[in-house]
């Protein structure tokens, strides 16, 4: 069965967590930074994505902490999550190599 390509927010969340465990707000700001502010995930969509990723075991949640009276929980990449991110990165890289080669053939050497 051919696997679907990973959605960009999912890819960026996993990339954010590849740097180490982060809590929700940290992921949100890191994700904007990684994508150069092109992708901004707000709380509703972020937590829907985190829930989906937890249910598929690509990430897991650490212990609950109370920081300044607010609940905070760190999320971290699981080994299957890291493997999935590595596979997706390899897939994107291979596509990019082909695209670059063909663009060069069109004379767009800087692509």
């Amino acid at each position: 069965m051919t696997k679907q390509a990973m959605q960009e927010p999912t890819f960026l969340i996993l990339t954010a967590l590849a740097a180490g465990p982060q809590h929700g707000y940290g992921i949100m700001t890191d994700l904007a930074r990684i994508s150069g502010n092109r992708v901004r995930l707000r709380a509703g969509m972020l937590y829907a994505a985190l829930d989906r990723l937890r249910s598929t075991q690509l990430i897991d949640a650490g212990r609950d902490e109370i920081v300044v009276g607010r609940l905070r929980r760190c999320y971290r990449l699981t080994p299957p999550g890291a493997a999935e991110l590595a596979a997706e990165t390899a897939r994107m890289r291979s596509n990019a190599v082909v695209a670059t080669r063909r663009l060069r053939m069109l004379g767009m050497g800087n692509a």
Partner: protein, 305 residues
Amino acid sequence: MNDSAALERRYRRLLAAFPAGHRREYGEEMIGVLLASTPEGRRRPRLADAVDLIAGGLRARLRPPRTGLSDANWPDALAVCSVAIPVTLLAALAVNYLWNFAPGYASGLGDFYPPSLALALPPLIALRYRRTAAVVAVAAAAWFWFLLLRSLTVWIDGLEASYCLALLVQVIAVAGSPGPRRAAAILTWKTWLVLCAAGIAMGLASIYHPWVLPTWQAAGLVVAFLAAVVAGLVLSLPKPVAFRLLLLLAIPAVPGTVWVLQFAAAMAGNTARAPFPQLAILPVLLLACVSAVAAWRARHGRGTA
């Protein structure tokens, strides 16, 4: 009411768009993130945040419900099961083996000690090589099954079916679980105690044969044993994991329990060997199918999110 409290109250109202389960799991965390990402002095949520929460809530409500077989607790239950079965069986056979040193006792299970030791290998190998561990689990189970079937004078009955099924569940658990490290993270010392105690009780049963007792005494012992194991696991493990583990362990437990009760009843009527009721195999088959699907989904069901 200050600005922050008014803002929080309005965010909470918007969070009602999400299903209750999602709110329970993430609600407080989301409120923290929403307040942290909103500029100070605002009393009302930004329009973009309100739209995002309502859309996210609707999507969460419209998402197809999980089947129960693909939830994250199954891999944990399988991981615990992959350790629980060998620990329990090894404890049982260790008691049986040690009893051989008692004067005048010979258990007759001597052939089964080596393959029983082999049962401990899959979880140890799975620390590093999961596929190899699954193959070794199949080989150890096949060895055990071969000796068991060779030693039978009549077709398999409930007690032997229990051993065979325990090994089958062990194979499923090793193949489908994230491995013994995960199990070690979940198991508490109380769970280890429950598993060892259950194994020791089973070992003693293999020596004293409680099924020859009067029916009500045999039934009482079986019920007390099962109740103690169920209570011990439920109290010492996270409940969703404990319930799934109990479903997995019920596969080998059902035929053995039915057989002990049948045998005790037959003894009361002076029948040498009780017939095993064929219908008892139905719940076992059903549970085995559920477990196999859960294990398969635990291993392969990770779609791209």
